[in-house]
């Protein structure tokens, strides 16, 4: 193991050490030399590129956002006050203008445009000056005398929240449509008054603002730190997230993303499992090699990397794949946070330059925070000519219009900005220019699109050009033109007629855009049109768009439907889709009518029934009950209906009309799921007549366990003396397979009594069997305390005690008495004492001196530590805790250590537990996934989504971390040192940086069970590979992408057969076609793709349909040694297929 960081900065280190106190020495280890040349030399730059310093401190400090103006000057918003103004400190942050007058690639003129600002996080020149995001306000400054300094200041908008200064208004950018786009992040709550009404956004998102009309809207909602946004050549928006982990996000207008407030359904990014990013820019222009044009550049500021992604069309949206970096370095203060193309065709990167980037996790006054440095780097392609800087500001209008044909996005963008400032006087020239476009020009359609956007920038509708582009041969042009209809809708004679053909357009992206625009035209006809899109193929993005529009328009079409005035085109499945999107009780009646009409079949019918059961009143529920009772209905549907009906009672207290006693007959049904569901429903509705039958089923030793479990739930709900007696009896009967569930059921009725039964049950239980018991008691007020009392004097297995401690720890309200009782009962050692003072300092020092990341990774992967149960690396693993792939790039070693030892000390944003107490005495703890008017959804420590009806919530508060303390107690000191070292390497340039190659990271391995021998003997591996009954458990690749052979358990095989193991992973195909897998060459390896045996080879090409496909391996063990499995997804030459490896838990 080498330590490049140390050798690089040894000079600076020696200097610093000599001048500092002993106390600060440990901290100084991470502070690099601030010489820009040392930083520059540390860059590993992509082949064919080089980097020069454009500008550096002291002429600028702490750059946050930068934007060019039409003159090619670079405007930089910067803050030395960040993160928090001190009492007595003057807010004197600045916007500076950097100018490269002689064109040598270095700034040679600087002016301080504006000062006296408080943490300005965005600047965008325009409208004769510049817009500046200044904490609560959006300001506009003007320089009226041309001296480079602002002399007027105007508040344009105010009321932006400042709950967190790394979330405040930022990422200002003009769209090609003439609107100013602005972002805010998760903690910000903004309340903005405009002449059109108040606009509010409580959470992350992107605003859309037209300054001259004061129209302000929310363009998208969500993402954690929405720190990048760019619009491509065709008007499509993409965003990056500085704290989410999904890489490039395709922005579907109006959509909700991760963490969006009030989201019912969210869209995901294109690169799940990716590190976090800041800034975003599309590469364009002749200076860059052709292969780079159209790439997206963004910054992994944690990992000191400038990253590149390549997009390709994928149905209605796009797929995105990461490529090798533009720049990477081990320099600990290189913090690329913004990227822009420049007027010369080069790439400019703003480097915030700071060893500390954490906002809340490191003390605001920590002396390691840098407040004075900052750089702008310029990246050029070696040996390629620069682009001549276009002289736009002084150009004649015809020359300016011709600049709209330039291949550089920069030039076209700024040509439109200059035209905008010239105003409507350019209109005659513009009309003539459009007319003169040569139809034979291969770019003619794009030129016309630029003209359309120019009209839009000038806010002057041009219906003829619009109509022409709506029928363009190029779907990208049609899609862009459709979006313009939204903005001109009130000034076009018949916008719906323009949109009608586009809703059923041949290209899914055009359909998507049309559906979304219709969501802004509140008419019944809009909805009727939008739902027509369901008649053609619908991928997940288009599905989302139709769903969103159905909701946006519900106040219009739902009343029309109820009044019998809605035309579904004779396709009731359109209606079922729309009604399920809305999910309001008002949809039950129209659904019943659709069902009665007999036109619904198959999945649409099943979906309608479940909707009716979950939303309807007694009459509609009665109808669903009839279907559940009928033995003509398929068993699975009957069980689902019964469960949904019972749920309707539990959540809404609605009971179906009709004779409920008939349910008793279902307890004799052939299907166990139907039996169980019937028993639960009988309990929910307290059907007295059926009581004895449920009691009998609960005790029937010959009945299937699943049916008996239903009966036990039913008894708990019935809660009469006889039922309680039976539960107690089962709860005390040793060896009964349903003893644990009976105790759990009883805990909701009589906590103390069930605690007594639980304590004696735990004395003989294994860890697996005790999970439900601990969870049940953690989930009730006072439950943990009761259990602790009853455990006194008892003995439990050490594993059971450990599990109990962990579940107590993840409850969000750990009970010290239970810790004490379990420690005694399990004869566990007392918890380790907190690591303090010199011991802690020594351990931290050892992390970098002797810590071994390879050994640390092995510790991390141990089952006993359960790290991956909650934390993913590159998207593979649990989703309860933050992904760790770039932890080391952002977090200091002391922070990592503290997080392991005292998880509650610092909790990452969006990972605070929500603790909810409900009216039925339950306590639920988890991460808030989403909340609507009716339901709160939490993800609990076991990675399950738990839905809680809002009406049942008595108290809801924000708790601490879900990570239990004491996880590392069982580690030796050197193991802890190795573990911290491994975590601190994650995301840094080196072997623990997640590779860009799309490799399988989430695996499942076949669990060895003795009964496998029989199956292998009789049916062979084909059967095992494809039979759903066998137990598989999660396994994850190492950071390198390898699933080690040792982590795939050896299977019991008929005695003379060679030893083997089996593992599988999944791939999701979004656009069908030929997909290529790169595999290791291992003798004896067998491969199945879905149920088909495929001959393994170094590369395997296979045609796959859309959907999820399973790739199963049989890996020989023993004999020939192998490292393990590594599967990489590659683009098959010439194929248009798009696929992603499945991630998650």
């Amino acid at each position: 193991m080498t330590f490049p960081r140390r050798s690089l900065f040894v000079a600076g280190l020696a200097l610093a050490l000599s001048a500092s106190s002993a106390r600060a020495q440990r901290e100084l280890k991470d502070i690099p030399n601030t010489d820009p040349e040392i930083e520059r030399k540390s860059f590993q730059v992509a082949d064919g590129f080089e980097v020069n310093l454009f500008a550096a401190d002291p002429i600028l400090a702490k750059p946050i956002q930068m934007n060019f103006d039409a003159k090619g000057r670079l405007w930089v918003a910067s803050s030395e006050v960040y993160p928090q103004i001190e009492p007595g400190q003057k807010a004197n942050d600045k916007v500076v203008i950097l100018e490269d007058v002689d064109g040598d690639g270095k700034a040679d003129k600087t002016s301080v445009f504006a000062q006296g600002l408080l943490i300005p996080t965005g600047v965008e020149p325009g409208d004769g000056g510049a817009y500046v995001a200044n904490s609560t306000e959006l300001l506009h400054f003007k320089d009226t005398d041309g001296d480079g300094k602002a002399d007027t200041r105007r508040v344009v908008l105010s009321g932006f929240g400042t709950e967190d200064t790394h979330h405040i208004l930022h990422t200002l950018r003009w769209g090609g449509d003439g609107q100013l786009y602005m972002n805010q992040s998760i903690y910000i709550h903004s309340h903005i008054e405009t002449p059109h009404g108040v606009r509010r956004l409580g959470g992350g998102g992107i605003w859309q603002f037209r300054p001259e009309t004061m129209e302000l809207d929310v363009f998208m909602r969500g993402l954690v730190n929405t720190w990048g946004h760019h619009v491509d050549r065709w008007g499509q928006s993409f965003a990056t997230d500085g704290a989410g982990g999904e890489g490039i996000n395709y922005v579907l207008p109006g959509a909700y993303y991760f963490t969006a407030p009030d989201a019912v359904r969210i869209l995901q990014g294109l690169n799940p499992g990716s590190p976090k990013h800041c800034g975003l820019e599309v590469m364009s222009g002749r200076h860059l090699p052709e292969s780079w044009r159209g790439s997206l550049i963004t910054n992994d500021f944690r990992g000191h990397r400038v990253c590149r992604f390549v997009l390709s069309d994928d149905g209605a949206a796009f797929s995105s794949r990461e490529q090798p970096e533009l720049i990477k370095t081990t320099h600990g203060a290189f913090r690329p946070i913004d990227v822009k193309m420049g007027p010369d065709g080069a790439i400019y990167i703003a480097d915030w330059y700071n060893p500390i980037i954490q906002h809340g996790e490191v003390d605001f006054r920590d002396p390691r925070r840098d407040h004075t440095h900052g750089r702008i780097w310029r990246v050029t392609a070696k040996g390629r000519p620069l682009v001549a800087r276009p002289g736009l500001v002084d150009a004649t209008t015809p020359a300016l219009l011709d600049a709209l044909k330039a291949p550089e996005d920069w030039t076209r963008h700024f040509a439109k900005r200059v035209i905008k400032e010239r105003g409507s006087s350019v209109l005659p020239d513009l009309a003539a220019w459009v007319k003169a476009i040569d139809p034979a020009d291969p770019e003619a359609e794009h030129h016309r699109l630029e003209a359309l956007w120019t009209y839009q920038t000038l806010d002057t509708p041009e219906p003829d050009l619009l109509a022409k582009l709506l029928t363009s041969a190029d779907p990208r042009v049609r899609a862009a033109a459709v979006r313009v209809v939204q903005h001109w809708k009130d000034r076009l004679s018949n916008p719906l007629a323009l949109l009608a053909p586009r809703v059923i357009d041949d290209h899914p992206r055009v359909r998507l855009e049309a559906v979304r625009v219709l969501g802004h035209i509140p008419e019944v006809a809009s909805a009727e049109l939008a739902f027509q899109a369901l008649d053609r193929p619908v991928d997940k993005f288009l599905d989302y768009a139709i769903w969103l529009t159905a909701r946006d328009l519900q106040s219009v079409w739902l009343p029309a439907l109820q009044a019998g005035k809605f035309d579904d085109g004779g396709k009731p499945d359109r209606l079922v889709f729309a009604l399920s999107a809305v999910g309001s009780p008002a949809v039950a009646k129209p659904l019943v009518e659709a069902l009665r009409s007999g036109t619904l079949a198959g999945e649409a019918q099943a979906r309608a029934l479940v909707l009716i059961a979950s939303l309807g009143g007694p009459d509609e529920l009665g109808m669903a009950l009839e279907l559940a009772l009928s033995d003509k209905s398929p068993a699975a549907q009957r069980a689902t209906l019964l469960d949904t009906l019972a749920q309707a009672y539990r959540q809404r207290k609605v009971t179906p009309k009709g004779d409920l006693a008939r349910l008793a007959a279902l307890l004799d049904a052939k299907d166990d799921a139907v039996k169980a569901a019937a028993a639960r429903a009988i309990g929910a509705w307290r059907v007295a007549a059926a009581q004895p039958r449920v009691q009998a089923l609960a005790q029937a030793k010959d009945a299937a366990i699943s049916a008996r479990l239903g009966a036990i739930d039913g008894l708990a709900a019935l809660n009469d003396p006889a039922s309680r007696a039976i539960l107690e009896e089962i709860g005390a009967s040793k060896g009964s397979p349903v003893r644990g569930p009976a105790i759990v059921a009883l805990s909701a009725i009589n906590l103390d009594q069930s605690a007594e039964l639980a304590a004696s049950y735990l004395a003989n239980a294994d860890a697996d069997a005790s999970v439900a018991i601990f969870e049940a008691f953690a989930g009730r007020k006072g439950g943990q305390m009761s259990l602790a009392r009853e455990l006194a004097g008892k003995t439990v297995a050490a594993d059971v005690a450990k599990l109990g401690l962990r579940l107590n720890g993840t409850s969000g309200r750990p009970e010290p008495k239970l810790v004490e009782a379990l420690t005694k009962a399990g004869k566990l050692a007392e918890a380790t004492k907190p690591l303090m003072g010199a011991d802690r300092e020594k351990l931290l020092a050892d992390v970098s001196l002797v810590g071994d990341p390879a050994r640390g990774e092995a510790v991390f992967r141990r089952d006993a530590l359960q790290c991956l149960k909650c934390h993913a690396i590159a998207g593979a693993g649990g989703q309860v805790g933050p992904g760790l792939e770039s932890l080391g790039g952002s977090a200091q070693v002391d922070y990592i250590l503290d997080s392991l030892l005292e998880p509650a000390k610092a909790v990452k944003e969006n990972y605070h537990a929500t603790v909810v107490a409900t009216s039925d005495g339950k306590v639920v703890t988890g991460l808030k996934v989403r909340q609507t008017d009716t339901n709160l959804v939490l993800r609990d420590a076991e990675d399950r989504e738990v839905t809680i009806p809002v009406a049942s919530i008595e108290e809801q508060k924000i708790g601490g971390s879900l990570m239990p303390a004491g996880l590392t107690d069982q580690l030796t000191r050197s193991e802890l040192v190795d573990l911290v070292r491994f975590l601190s390497e994650l995301g840094k340039v080196g072997p623990y940086s997640v590779s860009k190659a799309p490799v399988a990271r989430r695996w499942q391995v076949l669990v060895p069970r003795n009964e496998l021998i029989k199956h292998l003997h009789i049916s062979g591996y084909d059967f095992v590979a494809n039979h759903p009954e066998f137990p598989w458990k999660p396994a994850y690749a190492k950071v390198s992408g390898l699933l080690p052979a040792d982590d795939v358990p050896t299977l019991p095989v008929p005695h003379d057969n060679p030893k083997v193991s089996m593992a599988r992973c999944q791939v999701e195909v979004s656009t069908p076609g030929k997909v290529r897998f790169k595999l290791p060459t291992i003798a004896g390896l067998k491969l199945w793709i879905d149920a088909i045996r495929v001959e393994p080879a170094g590369t395997v090409d296979i045609d796959l349909k859309p959907g999820v496909h399973t790739i199963t391996f049989l890996l020989p063990k023993g004999g020939q040694p192998s490292d393990g499995l590594r599967l990489e997804l590659q683009d098959a030459p010439g194929s248009t297929a798009r696929a992603q490896m499945t991630l998650g838990k």
């Binding site: 009492p87 007595g88 006296g116 009321g159 709950e163 108040v198 509010r200 003390d363 610092a906």
Partner: protein, 315 residues
């Protein structure tokens, strides 16, 4: 040097002043409003109040008028706010906003509260009127409990600016209904009303806003005069720029005090991380007090050099 956009010439001011005087009603006016030594004034409302803190005209005018009395002013304006305290809820449910409003007001133990709501609510139109009236009364009940004297300030009429800004005719129609509720509520409760909706010059010859909605610096100067006039304070010599600048600086410090940035980390659910730095926030109190001491020295009425200044500016 920073100056503000669209600053009208002084001739306007002189003219307007005259107009305001001429418009003084002949009917018996209520007794003049008075601030007493030791009064603690709170200004409460949305953007109109919030932005007043950085112009300071209203506060400076009152300070000059009662220049021999120690009065403190605390601006609790919050953009986008309503009688329900909607803009103040942060992470909690909307109802929490009202609790915050209440806590902030009560902590200041006000003796006088100027209340300016109704504009944001008015976008709900006639359908929203009953809810507004109810919300207003709930708010006023809470404010009454502090024992403070309450003055309602109505929103100003939206200004008609050329397209592409929206024509405010409809918005003003809606707003008129809300102003009526404010007036009738004030009458019922025996409060004084400053009617910016009706008393502001209906057709000024220059622009008071830059977006139809929010006053510019000269707009605030004018609003201060309308308020003074409406309170029966007569013509007050215009305050010195130094006084106003000091008031603005004091307001800025107080803003850092009551609406600190990073509240999530200092006081909110991440205070376990930066709660230790919350100790800095009360350190703004002595800084505010020091500015108030400066104001006390400046507020002694000086016969305004501004008279001459204005002439110079106007030429």
């Amino acid at each position: 040097m920073i100056r503000h956009d669209r600053r009208p010439g002084a001739a306007f001011w002189a003219g307007l002043l005259w107009l305001a005087l001429a418009a003084c009603p002949a009917i018996a006016a209520p007794p003049a409003f008075e601030l007493k030594d030791g009064d603690r004034v709170v200004l409460l409302g949305g953007t109109f109040i919030e932005r007043e803190q950085s112009y300071g005209h209203v506060e400076a005018l009152l300070t000059s008028r009662f220049s021999n009395r120690n009065v403190t002013y605390r601006n609790l304006g919050w953009s986008g706010d309503t009688v329900w305290g909607e803009a103040r809820s942060r992470f909690g449910p909307p109802a929490e906003g009202f609790d915050h409003l209440k806590q902030h007001v009560e902590a200041l133990k006000p003796t006088v509260i100027f209340v300016n709501y109704g504009l944001n609510e008015s976008f709900a139109g006639k359908a929203g009127l009953p809810e507004f009236e109810n919300g207003l009364n709930v708010l006023l009940n809470v404010l009454d409990k502090t024992g403070a004297k309450i003055v309602l300030i109505t929103p100003r009429r939206l200004e008609t600016l050329p397209p592409p800004l929206p024509n405010p005719a409809k918005a003003n129609e809606r707003l008129a209904d809300y102003v009526k509720v404010l007036q009738s509520t004030a009458a019922k409760r025996g409060y004084r009303v400053v009617d910016l909706f009706n008393d502001f010059p209906a057709d000024p010859k220059y622009l008071l806003t830059d977006n139809g909605l929010h006053l510019t610096e000269p707009g605030y100067r004018e609003a201060a005069k309308v308020i003074a006039n409406s309170l029966g304070l007569g013509v007050i010599p215009e305050e010195s720029n130094k006084l106003r600048a000091t008031i603005v600086a004091k307001n800025q410090l107080y803003f850092y005090r009551w609406r600190p940035q990073n509240e999530t980390y200092l006081f909110g659910f991440r205070k376990h991380e930066q709660g230790n730095n919350a100790r800095e926030i009360p350190l703004f109190d002595p800084l505010v007090a020091a500015k108030e001491a400066e104001i006390a020295k400046l507020r002694v009425p000086t016969i305004p050099a501004h008279e001459t200044n204005r002439k110079e500016e106007g030429r």
